[in-house]
Subunit: 343 residues, 2 copies
Amino acid sequence: MRRKITLKDIARELDVSISTVSKALKNSEEIGRDTKEKVQAFAKLYNYKPNNIAVSLKNKHTKNIGVVIPDIVHHFFTTVFRGIEKYANSRGYNVIICVSDESFDKEVINMEMLANGSIDGFIMALSGETQLKNDYAHLKEVTNQGIPLVLFDRVTDEVNCDKVVLNDEEIAYEVVMKLINSGRKRIALFTTENFFNVSKNREDGYRKALMDSGIVVDEELILRLPFNENIDAIDPFFDKHTIDAVLAVNEIFAVHAMGVAQKKGMKIPDDISFIGFTNGMLSKYASPQLSSVAQHGDKMGEIAAKMLIERIEAEYKEDEEEEVVYRTEIIKGTLIERASTIN
Amino acid sequence: MRRKITLKDIARELDVSISTVSKALKNSEEIGRDTKEKVQAFAKLYNYKPNNIAVSLKNKHTKNIGVVIPDIVHHFFTTVFRGIEKYANSRGYNVIICVSDESFDKEVINMEMLANGSIDGFIMALSGETQLKNDYAHLKEVTNQGIPLVLFDRVTDEVNCDKVVLNDEEIAYEVVMKLINSGRKRIALFTTENFFNVSKNREDGYRKALMDSGIVVDEELILRLPFNENIDAIDPFFDKHTIDAVLAVNEIFAVHAMGVAQKKGMKIPDDISFIGFTNGMLSKYASPQLSSVAQHGDKMGEIAAKMLIERIEAEYKEDEEEEVVYRTEIIKGTLIERASTIN
DNA sequence: TTGTAGGCGTTATCAG
DNA sequence: CTGATAACGCCTACAA
């Protein structure tokens, strides 16, 4: 078992000083041709690689990014994550991931662990509980310490930092308009509780589209499901209400609802149309295939990572207190039309 | 912007030495009551937390685990990851994740980056390309350096390390037997190329079940799809062959095949049965719902993390070269029966 | 009871 | 051209 070799080892073996080795490996001009070659050859032979930890301690940065998300078994988040990872890697950063599991406490603990030097910056989507409690002290703490933070998707106005979000309200508006223009009149909204900024925004778009079309919003047609995937309430909903379209804030609600509607004998999309958010596997493989709003998670992730890394690297040469201006990037959602809506 | 406070800062402010502060914070017996209280109060006030990097450098371990998987937007892998993350967190470890994207080179690069001190051990599933090339030098390199490694799902006999796998062959055997016992005679297998150990094992189970039942294996009924989700070949397959059951090595193949069969006018499960591997979202929300083999990813992840951490922590007190024995844990798959098979 | 010194592996400054 | 020294932040054996 051959342990990793260090500068010191090389120095000892070659009978030169540590600093000579260090410089030689960096191809420094100060070092003589022969010494350089000798050192470099030896280093290659023994596969020397600098120890990341030592370098981090010295440089005060780790080249690690912390990502904190509510859930990992979730198409949208993994998509964003893939975008983050890809961009971060291309810039030489690694990604440490922590799952908050929709829990406030876990979110806090995870962030504290990472904030003690393990990472150079955070990218995160707020947990459900955090949005419910509306308590962002841990985020403010982190930014106060000068650790850059980028929020995506599940964001809040309470914290001053860079953000990346979908144009939730707009796209919901557009999509509902499309339903209305195709002749739909009784359009239900299947959503979650409103402490989620995204659900709130989508609902706003939904209401606005109805109102702008002269349709009175029937509060009965707005079904609020809990966020723990308990979708039993969908079934009875169809017994109680006559509807000809559904907008759902995620795939699961939409696909499950399609199943229920079909069981009740309704024809899709002749009798009823369905549109969901999150253009994932389910939308693609459901039958009929579900029309849904692509949230472009890859792009969101990439942009979030880019914003963060810029922030991180700007810090190194910062003139101290030059009034930082935070940006919010807005990604445009795209409706992918499939068989669950009339073309 | 209040930067993080260090032992040195506290020492200076309180006019004591750094080591006194260090000991006081550890509640050492050596330190006087008053000093301890003074230091601890100050530390709490300024929210002192030891710097992870410095501690890592000192202790020669990072409390980080490296996870390398082929894909993150993938139900099974995320499930395993969730198991890893959960267990690791409960033991005070963080998880750094790298995606190999089924690429050999990325796998190698990622591992090298992490192996330079960033992590205490690896958990990984081999990339497709790695299994194809059958080149495991990078894994051997890592274990040679004394970094513990646990392989899961996509494993190889070429590397000596702990492993966690599904009983792929057995469960495939059982499941095909079930199809046969329900009267199926022409059972197709939709799989990937055979350099994947899992596909290979599942195929072996499939063949064995047929043979044990006196059915001659018709090689024509084994459809090998490329691993890049290109499933166009499924459609023509149904035109060419008459079959009454399908075993697919993943959900996507199975659900897509169900769609094709239905389009050709076949009734599920009356005319044809379907069973897939990976009991994910698709299985649950397809119509009809797909019977599928639960791979218990959470459990695999948890066990993998447990094995790894035991290995890591055993190292600290190792008597050097006492003939390490590696284990392979086998997780039993479970068939979740749904509407795509006859009960 | 407190402090000093050395070291973890690397880098940068400065002296030789 | 090369090397000694200090520093990053923390820990600990040993000295005072």
